[in-house]
């Protein structure tokens, strides 16, 4: 793992590009809230990703100590930069550094793109249900759908406690996502998890479901989708734990 690994294309299914270790130069840093940091990176020898894939970010101290975590890509593959939206977790060793220290011009060790299951490139028509920062890979999918002019093939349901805590809330809502806030009344909707009758019309005609969020959210979303008739065999799940 210390050696540089050449980019390879993985997979008997032949669809998911896989990249090796490389370096990303931070071009832009934005901290939309005190818990979120958006990094835009110029990635050397970049392998173009599919919407839904992720990168590993590895931090290296002077004594050689390293820490690494995986983060979903928010950007469209056609974007010249790779965009990550990282949520700062309490005591998060990597997210804390990215949120508190990183500035433009810094170089970060990256490995990716990785993951070839939770990906969408335009078909089939899909419903996506994400909780909190689980929306990030769906943002990439939604940007792809818009670029290709097929936004109707991707129905996004974003669940968060409040509008302010939802990454990309404005962008998602502006492009037709259904946003369910559980702790805040907004635009005439009383705070509550999504109701089955809110989800049902979005599920009609879909051939796949994407679920992204914490483990607890993922099991909730699975039940919600099953309740409105989605076949579990069509569900693809991306969960994240309390890794910092």
């Amino acid at each position: 793992m210390t050696a540089d690994i050449p980019a390879v294309t993985a997979g008997a299914d032949g669809t998911a590009p896989i990249g090796g270790w490389t370096t990303g130069t931070v071009v832009d840093v934005e901290r939309p809230t005190d818990r979120l940091v958006r990094l835009r990176l110029d990635v050397a020898d970049r392998v173009e990703h599919l919407a839904g894939q992720h990168y590993v970010v590895r931090l290296r101290a002077e004594d050689g100590y390293t820490a690494q975590r995986s983060y979903s890509v928010a950007s469209d593959p056609a974007d010249p930069l790779v965009e990550l939206m990282v949520e700062r977790l309490p005591g998060g060793e990597v997210s804390g550094h990215l949120h508190g220290v990183v500035e433009p011009g810094d170089a970060l060790e990256l490995r990716g793109p990785l993951g070839g299951w939770f990906v969408w490139s335009g078909d089939p028509t899909a419903v996506c249900v994400a909780g909190g920062s689980g929306v990030v890979p769906l943002v990439a999918m939604s940007r792809v759908a818009r670029r290709l002019g097929i936004a109707d093939r991707l129905r996004v349901v974003a669940v968060a406690r409040t509008w302010a805590e939802l990454p990309y809330a404005d962008e998602l809502a502006d492009h037709g996502a259904f946003v369910a806030l559980t702790r805040e009344n907004r635009a005439g909707r009383v705070a509550a998890p999504p109701y089955p009758d809110e989800i049902e019309p979005l599920v009609a005609g879909t051939g796949r479901a994407y679920i992204c969020g914490s483990a607890g959210f993922a099991s909730y979303a699975q039940r919600l989708l099953e309740d409105v008739g989605v076949d579990p065999a069509t569900m693809r799940v991306e969960q994240f734990g309390e890794t910092g």
Binding site: M1, A3, I5, P6, V8, A10, G11, A12, D13, A16, I18, G20, W21, T23, R58, L59, R60, A61, E62, Y65, T66, A67, Q68, R69, S70, G91, E93, H97, V101, V102, D106, A107, L108, E109, R111, L114, G115, G116, W117, F118, I211, A215, A218, S219, Q222, E226, P232, A233, M235, R236, V237, E238, Q239, G241, E242, T243
Partner: protein
């Protein structure tokens, strides 16, 4: 590779000997990671099957599996997403007992583990023999929770945990290696955490 400007790291104490490189001790929590919807396994119709390159394909019902000699593992588990969990105890049966019943053919070199969901993962036969692999249904004395692969999962604790297929139902002996679900998507064919064999191309 370059030093990360301003990064010192949280832990200045040496990494414990039991935590492999690039891993951290997750403490009391046990993260759940799954690529598919969590299934409801019906134990009345569930079977454990060992087939493929074997002398006698073998099948066990839930009750028959429980009638085999119990075998337990006490120790650590390691997930490729970088968490390591120390001091777990899993109880079930040794994969050796299942393979002894089926009798691997001499040409068998690898195993494909199959889950009820269709998930697969490939392993060298040598990694699931010699008391190093189990089919388990209890963790720390309690039934294995569904999210962690319950009611029954494969346990190969010396390899990254994606090899320990949740909701196991079949071990298929193979005469050559063939990539499973994650292995087709860039993950390592063996997955030794001490060698950091996370992705294809790692040592």
């Amino acid at each position: 590779m370059p030093i990360t400007r301003g990064f010192t790291g949280r832990r200045r104490a040496p990494r414990p000997d039991r935590v492999p490189p690039g891993q951290y001790d997750t403490g009391s929590s046990w993260p759940t990671l799954t690529a598919e919807a969590t299934p409801r396994v019906d134990l009345d119709s569930w079977r454990m099957v060992v087939d493929g390159a074997v002398v006698r394909p073998a099948t066990w019902t839930w009750a028959e599996l429980h009638a085999l000699p119990r075998s337990a593992y006490s120790g650590d588990i390691h997930c490729v997403t970088t968490w390591t969990k120390l001091d777990m105890t899993f109880t079930g049966v040794s994969v050796d007992a299942l393979l002894d019943a089926a009798g691997p053919q001499p040409a068998a070199t690898h195993v494909m583990a199959h889950s009820t969901t269709g998930y697969t993962t490939n392993l060298p036969l040598a990694d699931v023999t010699g008391g190093r692999a189990w089919v388990v249904w209890e963790v720390d004395g309690k039934p294995l929770p569904t999210g962690h692969g319950g009611p029954v999962r494969l346990l190969v604790p010396h390899l990254y945990f994606w090899k320990s297929a949740k909701w196991i139902t079949r071990l298929e002996l193979m005469e050559r290696d063939r990539p499973g679900f994650w292995e087709q998507r860039g993950y390592h064919d063996r997955g030794d955490p001490w060698l950091e064999q996370r992705y294809q191309g790692d040592p």
